[in-house]
Symmetry: C3
């Protein structure tokens, strides 16, 4: 039996919050379903950062009521040959470009069904070359929130585009982690997952920087003295470098793209 | 017959997203109509930039369901003599200060009806001097979303304030365009409309900058090599200068207010 | 009789607008009550600025329909011993950490009832250490918006944490005010309340800076010449320093944390 829609459509885009893009996108959804509730997850994905969009989607989608439609519009290839896709997983619907934004869904395992969106009767016409968010994904999301069967949108596809986080680089007795991005508190989120490295980090380790050292895992952001750096697994399951009551990005002068080295074992004298 | 309300109220303001202004505005709408759906178009109009608000409104409003109330609160003259207005056009309602924010509606042609908002029984009282968004436009928008006849709000007015985009300056064999603003991708939006100049730009032309040249119109942001500048008509119908997978504003060192020259004809050797 | 819920949940957080935090928070509310309307007041409280969150809440909450649930998640002590609280005042419900975010409600006087939130059957489990917004406050807000009796959440508490604005410092014939923050227009909001100092400022006074002087109270932001500094009581009842059609923060080179001196009496020659 098909999943009943929740009437909720969420949005993850890199449109930013100025300009007319977000407004037109929302209008085009409501035009199809004036009763749906639109929920902004974020419009501030770093421009064209497909990996970040995929991560945010993965960390959010399952908190919503079953039958929610998640729209992900980070679409640097709009108007080129990339496919438009509708995906079904865990009782949710997802729409967006098939360029990797669904990677987080794929990597999590579980049953997944995908279709290419080709049926123009669900688009706004004339179809623009530069704004399929408004002309394709928005009206399709609106129709899905009304209960449209995804099978009506186009043929099934396999091999959705999948891009993965860069893995941390393992060395002899150490791990080189990458800072993926910083949140608005300045916490530095790395590519070290709790699933893979959580147990390892219960053993002694050190992370060193200019004038600072972290040698144990914290449980909360409020541990240690104010201004002191700490490491913990954040709510998304990734290792973060944080500063108690401070901004790690500014204090430690580390930015997304930078590496940090986790040295295992006790400190040598 | 009067247009039935959609129950949706959209917001375009220059309030920014910190502080209490947006929250008070939304509360004052919901106080009147707890069932209406409030949709943020943007709260990041450049402070007091009436022209930009007018443009965003013009590009968004018609995607919404008929009967939607669009609130535009960019109001540098709040508390002074400027009129408060309610406008009806194309089955939509608009409320805001009569200071030019409705210019985009006027320039598009078509039937338009406007009234001055003077009936205090629809305001919050005591009326503040500095925040008519909360005290006038919000409750009025709430009432309109419940089906209030605009005629109840005050007398009809003609000659709504209209301000226009600066036109591009035509020279002998060239056109000097103005960069109006940049979007969050760094795309530079100019005052060259597709309506007026679309056909002209199908003939040979050149736009030159420091170390770069654009000599043809692109259709999508993904054309050309990464990092290469390109020109296209954006989804709003205005000519944009963009950089494939990059940020034109930063790369080309051009800002809103700057000019670019479009030279028509083939390059001379 | 208990207050009937309005079905509206508002949010004040310091999460910022990028990342997955806001999306997960909203999902966790809607998971409990898919029909509730979520309203963003702001997610841009300065990180961990409890006083600012308290102020924004105080200035906004009463515009909403009775029965609205206001969620305030500025929670530097998450996972430590601070209490989670539900508060009832003026027919509204409030949820958040008991760390001072409710100070504005307490200082306003009037009846107030508070309870500690301890009943885990209303939480998401497993409860994380770092994100009680998603795991505690969101589902509790969802349940309250469905009509849950706050008494079900835990025992009554007295002595909610209260922190206060720093008072202006009174000197002989003058007052030293603090700039608390700047809004998105660059208006500088001070700790001088209309309630306490409104009448005093009807008498002659001067505020002086580098090359500028303000010697009277304005009523609107549009008074005086463009570019001229002015002082007025903003819609929140606090004295603001503003620049007509300009940005006071930039023009006057004053920032939050800086002081200004209000000299009473007529200027001496």
């Amino acid at each position: 039996m098909r999943q009943k829609p929740s009437g909720i459509v969420t949005l993850i885009t890199d449109f930013g919050l100025s300009g007319e893009y977000v407004g037109a996108l929302k209008g085009a959804i409501l035009r199809v379903n004036p009763r749906c509730q639109i929920v902004d997850i974020t419009h501030q994905i770093d421009p064209q950062n497909i990996l970040q969009a995929s991560f945010v989607l993965q960390k959010c989608y399952s908190y919503y009521p079953p039958g929610t439609v998640h729209g992900v519009v980070v679409d640097p290839g709009v108007g080129t040959r990339r496919r438009a896709a509708v995906v079904e997983k865990d009782k949710y619907f997802f729409v967006g470009p098939d360029n990797g934004v669904f990677s987080g869904l794929l990597s999590a395992g579980g049953e997944i069904r995908a279709r290419e969106i080709i049926r123009k009767e669900y688009f706004f016409t004339p179809l623009s070359d530069t704004f399929h968010g408004r002309d394709v994904f928005a009206p399709v999301a609106g129709h899905l929130s009304l209960g449209l069967d995804p099978a009506k949108l186009g043929p099934g596809v396999k091999n959705l585009v999948r891009i993965d986080f860069p893995d941390p680089r393992r060395g002899k007795g150490h791990l080189v982690a990458r800072i993926l991005w910083a949140d608005s508190f300045g916490n530095l989120i790395t590519n070290v997952t709790r699933d893979e490295y959580g147990r390892k980090l219960e053993s002694p380790f050190q992370i060193r920087g200019k004038g600072w050292i972290i040698d144990r895992l914290s449980r909360t952001y409020g541990e240690g003295k104010p201004g002191q750096p700490l490491a913990l697994f954040g709510s998304g399951g990734l290792l973060e470098i944080s500063v108690n009551l401070g901004n790690a990005r500014k204090t430690l002068e580390l930015d997304p793209g930078n590496s940090i080295t986790i040295q295992f074992g006790r400190e040598k004298i």
